[in-house]
Every structure is written in C-alpha cells, then in structure tokens.
Symmetry: C2
Subunit: 175 residues, 2 copies
C-alpha cells in the first residue's frame, strides 16, 4: 500500500517546549510521515529540519500557519482518517488492525491543552497504554505499528551523509 | 519469560534538558522497565515519578548517583546484557530476535555526549533507523519490540486513578 501519513501538533503548553517539538518533527520524518503541521510561532524548527534533510536526505516538510480546525477539516475533505493520540483513547493493540487498513492518515499529537472538540472530530482516539508518558514515544509507536516496521527500512534519497550500521563504533560515509 | 529491563541514561547535554529526562523516565515506567539510573544532578525528577506512581500505580524507581561505568559493570556482573541505543548501531529489525531471547537487560540511552567506551562495552549497539531523531522514541520502540507488545497490557497495581479507554472523550475512575 502506498500510504500517506501526515502529523498535526495541537495543544502546545503555555511554556514553549522546543525540545519536544523538535523531537516530534524528527520522529515524524525518521519514521515515515511526509509532513508535520505546526503553528506559526513554531517556525524556528524549520531551519533545523532543512538542515537535517540536506545532511540526511529526504523531503520531509513542516507546514506552518494553518489552524488545527482547518487542517482537520481539509484532511477529512480529502478522505484522510484522523487518528488522535491520547492516553484516554482505545488501546492501540485493539484498533491496530483497522489503522493498518487506512491509506491516508492524519495523526494528531496533543498535549495537556487539547480542546475537547479534537476528541470528537477524530475518527480514532488511540492510547499507547493508559499511563502518562510522552507524546514523542506514543507517536513513534503508532507510526511503527501502522507501518508494520516497513518504515525502518525506508531510504532517504539525496543525502550528504549516510551511516553504515556497525556493531561497535561509528561509521559515516559521504555520498 | 519473566523479563527484567532497566534503563541507564548517559551523556547528558551541557544545557539541562528536563523535559527529555522526564519523558525518558515516564516512557521507561509506562513501557515495562523496572527502574532508570540517573545522575545525582537529576534528582528533581524523582518527585515527579513518586507522584506518578502514587496516582497511576506501580513501583517504578529512579536510582540516583552511580556512575555509568559502575552501573554497566554491575549489570554485566549480574548477567545483564547491555543494549546501547545509537543511530550508528545495527538495525533493530536485524537484532530483535536475539534481544527477545534476553532475560535481563540494561538499556543504555545516550545523547550527543556518549563516551566512545560505551560503544565498546555494550553487548549490542542498536539503531532505530540510522536517521537522527529522538532518544525517547528510540527507547519506546526498543522496549515495545523486545517485549513484543506485551508491555501494553501491563497492570499498574495500587493506583489512585484508572482510565477507562473510550472511543471519544475522557473517562477516569477512582480506585
């Protein structure tokens, strides 16, 4: 299946949390999403992403400035299923069969400030355990489970550097 | 198999990164590790963990103050396999069969400042993709893969609150 997965971040904390934002972007990129929707105020991260694409390849994109309402509405309009990650949702292991059948997905990653409306607009509210932990970890496991591990084998074309996996040490080559 | 998994964090950044540290602790707890080893300077997080245990159950522990050398040495002394997460390591999908066979594991989570010696002391250097992303995400996927999803069904005894998974909304009960 030629899957298309995009990520939307909603409900940022009042205190800026740049590290978590960067992690969410890089995990989306590394684990097979094609883009992440961010608020305008988060544009600082786009420089980091451009640099990572340039060095490590691929065409992952950050899309700035659309409200979450608009992103969700447009996603639904183009037949995308909305999968919201929340510790209150249905266990991932109970819904993964259905999720794997979806070709076009918008994964919504929340924080403590997610509006109630997101829970109702989502086609799936999905929990990676019902324990408090990390939206970065939840996103990683859901991307991994939906793609059944295929995302781990993905190539990132046009990179400047490439790692040669090794048992002990570091091996990097220039392309 | 009655698996025992512990986590060690090595190579912190010079700038304190409390959010990532908290995420690493909570992911270790939620996804089936029994404890995490931290440096003394990171003791602030233990209050958060105590509060989470009290509210959401379980007996996850942060162990403070041992050097990484000592923790790795002791782990090996008690027959624990050392699994170091690094983008330079062998692909997780190539070594997961071996990792699943291990009963006692110390997962070492690094950062940019991991000493070269860790790469050589580790029994396995494991990569979750050879792309730069997040130690939180890498830890989550490795815990998930080693335990084959069993960790998602884990109970956390003696909790004050418990979530009832639901398709749309939030349901929490007091025990």
């Amino acid at each position: 299946m030629d899957r298309s997965i995009r990520v939307l971040r909603v409900g940022q904390r009042y205190v800026r949390d740049d590290r978590t934002l960067t992690h969410l972007c890089l995990v989306s990129r590394a684990l097979g999403a094609e883009s992440i929707y961010l608020e305008d105020a988060e544009k600082d991260v786009t420089g980091t992403l451009e640099q990572v694409n340039k060095t490590w390849g691929g065409e992952f994109k950050a899309v700035l400035g659309a409200s979450w309402r608009k992103v969700i509405k447009e996603a639904k309009g183009e037949g995308r299923s909305v999968v919201h990650l929340t510790m209150y949702g249905m266990p991932i292991q109970d819904v993964i069969g259905e999720l794997r059948g979806l070709e076009r997905i918008l994964i919504v990653v929340g924080g403590p400030k997610v509006p109630g409306k997101v829970y109702h607009e989502a086609d799936f509210n999905v929990a990676v355990t019902s324990q408090p932990h990390s939206e970065v970890a939840a996103l990683a496991i859901v991307l991994h489970e939906i793609q059944g591990g295929e995302e781990l084998k993905r190539a990132f074309p046009k990179s400047k550097l490439r790692i040669l996996p090794t048992a002990h040490g570091k091996r990097v080559v220039e392309n």
